[in-house]
Amino acid sequence: MTNSTDALLERPLTALIKPDRSPLSLKEYRDGGGYRGLEQALKHLTPEAVLKQVTDANLRGRGGAGFSTGLKWSFMPRDSGAPTPRYLVCNADEMEPGTFKDRLLMESNPHQLLEGMAISAYALGAEIGYMFLRAEYGRAAAHLQRALQEALDAGYLGNNLLGTEFSLTIHLHTSAGRYICGEETALLNSLEGKRATPRAKPPFPQVCGLFGQPTVVNNCETLCNIPHILANGADWYLSLGRGADSGTKIFGAAGNVRRPGLWERPMGTPIREIFEDCAGGMSPGYQMRGFLPGGASTDFLLPEHLDLAMDYDVIGRAGSRMGTASLIVLDDQTCPVAMVRNLTHFFAQESCGWCTPCRDGLPWAEQLLNEIEAGRGRMEDLDTLAWQCRFMGPGNTFCALAPGAAEPIQSALKYFREDFERHITAKGCPWH
């Protein structure tokens, strides 16, 4: 038991997950210490105290933006005159290419998420919770549905949780399948049955969210951290991080690496440890040329960046974003233009069609990349692409989709420009 307790303290999110990744039943979860955090919160802490612990733990949003969870919660009106009902929404619409961390958490330990939502809802005074689940996550949906029933039967959800005044209903909503639904305000529109276009901010969801009511939207992994913070305290959580950021993070690696997969490691773990120790480095015969550190919508980094710590600010200073902390590795036998084109195709497909730079800019960028890849590119196209990346930059678009989509393009132009030029001069793809 000591070993597993230690593991739980080192890798709180995944330590309980069984090797075959089958879902933990309520009993198994409870035996592993589950729902202790909820009991602690509901029976011994006021909502304010829960909020304080989360703030003290310096938990930052795991969806990619890294915004302080405690701060986000604090914008929710919670006084006696605050509007009701208030909502907590779990963003489990994990559609970032190369990212599959939430899937593991929901498929294998669904109660952890439910407990996290229950504690968070208690802190926020939210009486209704929604889980907005990616359309393709059928297995997660089944596991969550079962866990919801178990938790309801056991009194962890429903009316008067654990005999307290607090009540919470959680609905599972499976998405119709659009990347934009991962954007929290588009998610809310979709949940209301409207077209999944983002909303203007301000007003932020905490003030005017789902159905116009105060709403907090948190990423699935963020919410999974909450039970452990409550169970073990903010200090413990702070001590987990190796760098400036606290807690652990589920890191992933994809591409031609020896062992693609997911690993829970402390925040601030150097990228090299994830790439070499966890993923086992490149598959035989492949050389790394670069990698996207946090999913498809982040800037490329180069092998020289491997020793950077996986902290929000460290990666930010290197010119990229930690995003979902899922590495996508580019090797020497893959055409970077084709890779960027493939990503851009995805983003152009997934644009919601609301604002001009994204809706009409991304298909244009894709068209240019197609031309270059097909050997019909012109040198001035590279200038056009570079201009487009600035054009779609942060602040110029309605939401973060297009700026994210521009990141792999702009960094590829920076780091792999000669490859683009070779396509143009050779009138074809050198990798073909």
């Binding site: 203007a200 301000p202 069609g353 604002c355 809706r359 054009f391 110029n396 309605f398």
Partner: protein
């Protein structure tokens, strides 16, 4: 006031608006697409980007969207900064990747906002080499053309059609750059406001199909400020003409009435002006035939008509031994104030009849007295701010659609308070809607059937007009115990009356809406009672809104002219004709729409001589002995009084052909005859004099003086049309081919027509329409069309919207005739059922199995002039008898059965249609449609089943009645005339 600095210059601007609004208001050019002054901001197109600097030391700045950024004191901004300019050009270039280069064949070109913005943003060279996306277009019906390839996805169409106007059948389909704005399948757009898509769309996706049928570019259209003639609201319009043909109607911004939007009847009803049935010259009856004659001959004949001696001398008829009495004049609620007044002067007030049935005449007079007793005049703009609304006996989206649209905005405005509380700027449309999506609005409807607004109402009652009135009186009693109580109400009705009374009392600005649609005086009395109770209880300081819907464009004007007269209804004219030999002049009125056919026939049979002045052939004109061609609104200058008592001038868009004249001009030519020397009409030489006489004739009409005075051209030189400093051109400055238009007839260029009566010229020359009006100007001139340098589309008007709003009350083309007074109603009305005259209102016996047939005005098909316009006719639903299924079952009628109803002893064949929203015991028919249009309604009628449902194909087995197989009803739009014939059989 805040001060903002734009490109180094400080400007004082109103706080609370966004930067885009502020810039446009300052006359600065900042391009945009998705913003609209009435629809607010959503930040989708990213076109209105400008640079905002944090402080004086900030040299980089950051891009902000003008439409999404509130004005704040001390902001430092740049429109001209290179970053912003490049970004805006980029937005256009990106939009253009999918926009076809089809301007030469696009109906929008020349007034295309996208063209204007493209030029403004400076994008001219395209880098995109890919294929443009293509869509299939839809057939959206007779009014709106659809060309989706041109779409730039600004979402304005949806935001207007769905969010603003409540339409359901237009939506966005697909996503990314494949978003498709259309219907689920081909079909006519259902909303009565669909025409606004033409103006809301910044490019040529939604275009005016009626314009396309006889197309001219905007720059070739001669325009004038005009007023819609298709209902009583008096929406301002800008009609366009070329080659003597009226080509289209566009909205003309009026901040207090129509704002930016018109209804489809107002926009597409204009084609009656070009109709083949239009009377284009005069006719005289010779040997029983109407034979065309010259205007001169017509005037001579008209003079003879008015001169008994001459007429007698020429007539060898023995009957004329008795000296002839003066002829009678029958006026019209759709003729201008001038024409009605001229006729009234000519024949004398005692010989002037309103041309309305007695029931309608008294109804309109009751409405006028209610308006005159009002403490507060209510504009459509104020309607949009009402926080509790009670509508009595009106289906607004059909009887006065634009008012219905304003009520819809009042409901939307309920969310504004919530948005304001969480400090969302009220122009941030999406957030306001999200914040307020669950906010209800106390809208209550009393009507005889369910209507479209019911979906938004907090509660609605569907009952007979009398029961509605009962409830109305009960509401008044609940408000003020002094108002007589109503006996015998059901508990639910009693509770509802109390609830409505409470909501009206609580409201900051409660609004009552009633009108003539139900043809029930009781409802007006009930409305007056509630109004009086509300004013008494709330005190004079708190306003109570009131809007009364009149049926026609000048109903109120006519009511004002005849309000001192007694026995001046059409029924009285009928009586007079029964008593003595009578000659009549009928002014712009089809009497067969006013009274039962038998009565009118009898009247015409009795008349010795009938002169008709009208613009469209009608059953009445067919009976004329002398028929004079009147000008339509498009060729007339005149005054119409809208339902709030606002007299508005409409100006001729183009000079009428020589053979036509405004009705009052025909009459004026007679007035020159010797025997009429003493007539005031003799003093009248022009429009201004006529208005001055009109104004002098009645204290209530005195404000009309303003229309006569300020607008007349002080420096007019009769020899030229454009020498004055105040002349405004009717033609855009790029008007082409003026000298060549008639070249196939005569190569000599004719002199441009002269318009001494207004400051408008039939010319391209004169003061630009967009000039900024200053305090030195004599008044706010009406605009023939919207144009501003660089802004060819109608969006040009936003450039001076704010300025015009600031100058309200200085318009030269309108005057308020009904002063806000603090007069109390003299007495309380006794609730319905207790007064002696109540039975006169609903004819027939309420005995089983009779149903009360009630009239329902339809947006398409009820109004006399618009119903002949092709686009409106195509959207007119066939005439049906709508009744409650229970009433049908009780009388063994099935949905779709052929029925015969008896109205005014006339058998009328109609198809039954069940509607669970119809009040039990009542059945409705479309008002104003042949063969029903002259019938007295409401009226009790027995329902006789005459045949089974004539359906020939159905999913379900259906027994066919062989006798009906040869019938015309296989046609989905049965020919009304044939129905009439069958009925007569």
């Amino acid at each position: 006031m805040a001060t903002i600095r734009i490109d180094g210059q400080d400007y004082p601007v109103e706080e609370g608006q966004n930067l885009l609004q502020a810039c446009l208001g300052l006359g600065l050019n900042l391009p945009y697409f998705c913003w609209h002054p009435a629809l607010g901001s959503v930040g989708a197109c990213r076109q209105c980007a400008l640079l905002q600097y944090q402080n004086q030391d900030d040299t980089r700045g950051r891009l902000v969207m003008g439409c999404m950024t509130p004005v704040a004191d001390g902001q430092i901004l740049s429109i001209k900064a290179a970053n912003a300019v490049t970004f805006r050009a980029g937005v256009i270039e990106t939009l253009m990747t999918n926009h076809p280069h089809d301007c030469p064949v696009c109906e929008e070109a020349g007034e295309c906002h996208l063209q204007d913005m493209t030029v403004m943003s400076g994008h001219h060279q395209r880098r995109f080499r890919g294929r443009k996306r293509t869509f299939s277009n839809q057939d959206l019906g007779p009014c709106i053309g659809h060309e989706m390839n041109r779409c730039i996805t600004c979402y304005r169409c949806l935001r207007f059609y769905r969010d603003y106007a409540g339409g359901q059948d237009l939506h966005a389909y697909g996503s990314r750059n494949q978003i498709y704005f259309g219907r689920f399948e081909d079909g006519t757009l259902e909303s009565v406001f669909s025409g606004n898509l033409v103006e809301v769309c910044p490019t040529g996706v939604f275009t005016d199909k009626t314009l396309a049928a006889h197309y001219s570019r905007k720059w070739d259209l001669q325009c004038a400020p005009s007023v819609c003639v298709h209902c009583s609201l008096g929406c301002n319009t800008s009609p366009g003409e070329r080659y003597g043909m009226l080509k289209r109607i566009q909205n003309r911004y009026h901040p207090e009435i129509n704002g930016h939007f018109l209804c489809d009847r107002g926009r597409f009803g204009y084609e009656f002006v070009n109709h083949p049935e239009r009377l284009r010259q005069s006719y005289q009856r010779i040997d029983g035939e109407l034979i065309p004659c010259s205007a001169e001959a017509a005037v001579t004949a008209l003079q003879q008509f008015f001169s008994p001696q001459q007429a007698e001398a020429k007539q060898a008829d023995a009957n004329s031994a008795v000296p002839k009495a003066r002829p009678i004049g029958i006026g019209s609620p759709r003729a201008t104030l001038e024409s009605n007044w001229a006729l009234q002067q000519l024949v004398g007030a005692d010989h002037f009849f309103s041309g309305l049935s007695r029931a309608d005449e008294t109804l309109h007079q009751a409405m006028l007295s209610l308006l005159l007793s009002c403490t507060h005049a209510t504009t459509l703009e104020q309607v949009e701010r009402a926080d509790a609304v009670l509508v009595i006996g009106e289906d607004l989206l059909n009887s006065a659609p634009r008012l219905g649209l304003s009520v819809r905005q009042a409901i939307r405005a309920a969310s504004l308070a919530k948005a304001d509380a969480i400090r969302v700027p009220l122009w941030q449309d999406q957030a306001v809607q999200i914040a307020g999506q669950d906010v209800g609005h106390p809208l209550y409807l009393l009507h005889s059937q369910r209507s479209e607004l019911d979906n938004l109402a907090r509660d609605s009652v569907h009952a007979s007009p009398q029961q509605q009135a009962q409830l109305g009186f009960a509401i008044a009693h609940a408000l003020d115990p002094q108002a007589p109580a109503v006996a015998g109400l059901e508990p639910r009705q009693q509770a509802l009356a109390s609830e409505i009374a409470t909501r009206l009392m609580e409201a900051r600005y409660p609004l009552l809406i009633a009108g003539a649609s139900s043809r029930s005086r009781e409802l007006i009395y009930a409305c007056a009672q509630i109004h009086q109770a509300l004013v008494r209880q709330r005190g004079k300081a708190k306003p109570v809104g009131l809007q009364l819907v009149f049926p026609e464009s000048n109903s109120l004007g006519l009511a004002l002219l005849t309000r001192h007269q007694h026995e001046n209804s059409l029924d009285d004219a009928f009586t007079l004709a029964n008593l003595r030999p009578t000659r009549a002049l009928i002014l712009e009125n089809d009497l067969y729409r006013r009274a039962p056919k038998a009565q009118v026939d009898h009247f015409f049979d009795q008349l010795e001589q009938k002169v008709v002045i009208d613009l469209l052939a009608s059953p009445t004109t067919a009976r004329a002995d002398l028929l004079l061609a009147a000008t339509s609104f498009a060729e007339s200058r005149g005054t119409l009084v809208n339902n709030e008592g606002r007299a508005q001038t409409l100006f001729p868009v183009f000079p009428p052909p020589r053979e036509m004249a405004m009705s009052w001009q025909w009459l004026r030519r007679v007035a020159a005859a010797d025997w009429l020397q003493a007539n005031p009409l003799v003093e009248v030489n022009d429009e201004a004099q006529l208005l001055a006489q009109l104004a002098a004739s009645d204290p209530l009409l005195a404000p009309l003086q303003a229309l006569a005075g300020t607008d007349a051209n002080p420096d007019a030189n009769p020899n030229t049309t454009h020498s004055s400093r105040w002349t405004t051109p009717r033609m855009p400055h790029r008007y082409s081919g003026r000298t060549a238009l008639r070249a196939q007839l005569n190569i000599h260029e004719p002199q441009q027509p002269h318009d001494p009566d207004s400051t408008l010229a039939y010319s391209m020359e004169g003061l630009p329409v967009y000039r900024r009006v200053t305090a030195q100007d004599p008044g706010l001139p009406p605009l023939p069309f919207a144009w501003y340098p660089g802004w060819n589309s109608n969006q040009a008007q936003y450039k001076f919207d704010q300025q015009r709003r600031g100058l309200l009350g200085r318009e030269v083309a309108e005057a308020r005739l009904i002063p806000a007074k603090t007069v109390q109603h003299p007495t309380w009305y006794a609730p319905a059922g207790r007064r002696a005259d109540q039975n006169s209102e609903q004819r027939g016996e309420p005995m089983s199995p009779a149903l009360l047939i009630v009239p329902q005005p339809q947006a398409f098909g009820s109004e006399e002039l618009s119903r002949v316009a092709a686009a409106i006719a195509a959207r007119t639903a066939p005439l049906r008898l709508w009744l409650h299924p229970e009433d049908g079952q009780r009388q063994s009628i099935a949905d779709g059965d052929q029925l015969v109803i008896q109205l005014d002893s006339l058998d009328i064949l109609l198809q039954a249609q069940f509607d669970p929203g119809q009040a039990p015991g009542t059945a409705r028919v479309t008002d104003g449609m042949p063969p029903l249009c002259g019938c007295t309604l409401p009226q009790y009628s027995r329902i006789i089943r005459s045949g089974a449902n004539p359906l020939i194909a159905s999913d379900r087995p259906q027994e066919l009645d062989p006798s009906l197989q040869a019938d015309t009803h296989l046609n989905p739009h049965p020919n009304q005339e044939q129905e009439q014939e069958q009925a007569d059989d």
